[in-house]
């Protein structure tokens, strides 16, 4: 893994391999928590529809 470093004064751009310490820090980061699936009630609420409107839409 590499880091690109740009000096804004000189414009010099260098590619620097990450150090072993930096790679260890990255590997120790917690894995992202997967999003919790919405319940049917939450999906309905997110849609902005009421139960009555949904029934009318479906003709039931």
């Amino acid at each position: 893994m590499d880091r690109i470093e740009v000096n804004v004064i000189t414009g010099e751009q260098v590619t620097i391999p990450l150090t072993a310490e930096e790679i260890l820090e990255i590997q120790s980061r917690p894995a992202p928590v997967p999003p919790v699936p919405l319940t049917p009630a939450e999906k309905l609420a997110a849609s902005g529809l009421t139960v009555a409107e949904l029934k009318a839409l479906l003709g039931i």
Partner: protein, 200 residues
Amino acid sequence: MSTLSTTNLKNPSSGSNNIVLAADGSATITTLTGTTITGTSVRGGITSGTAVASTSGTSIDFTSIPSYVKRITVMFNGVSTNGASKLRVQLGSGSVETSGYLGSSSAIASASAGSATFSSGFDLTDSEAATALRRGIFTCTLLGSNLWVLSGTLSAQDVGYTTVTNGTKTTSGTLNRVRITTVNGTDTFDAGSINILYEG
């Protein structure tokens, strides 16, 4: 061509020197509008960094940002990575700082919205799709005492998302670097370009 050797220039009616020439070759020019020029750094104006192709590397650092800078604009042009980790912007004084960020980021799509707080960097909530090409700007403005306020938006037209992010970060000293990376730190940039403007 002859050289005039002097240290100060002033209008006879001016109460102070208009131009001060230092021994190191730099000059400080004071105008009615308060604009000063010192060395190669133009204060009061906007200076562009060098655009970087964000097509490789796991992070991109803009370093040697002058100490007088009070506002930094980070510009994203079609930036993509090869994974689904969020983009992360971090600030630093000497080294990049990985804690103390306060704020949240929201992603808005045509039929949904989501939001998340952050603490290890300004984490930009979006579709988190590897195909997303982010376009937009973020500004970091110095409120005072090394306290920086960040605000910005990105769009990912191809995946139909707009990201809104706001937050603050107090750096341990005078800011001199900005890093653009990802939350997991392992995804690699694979498209687009990034640049910064700075002013003070």
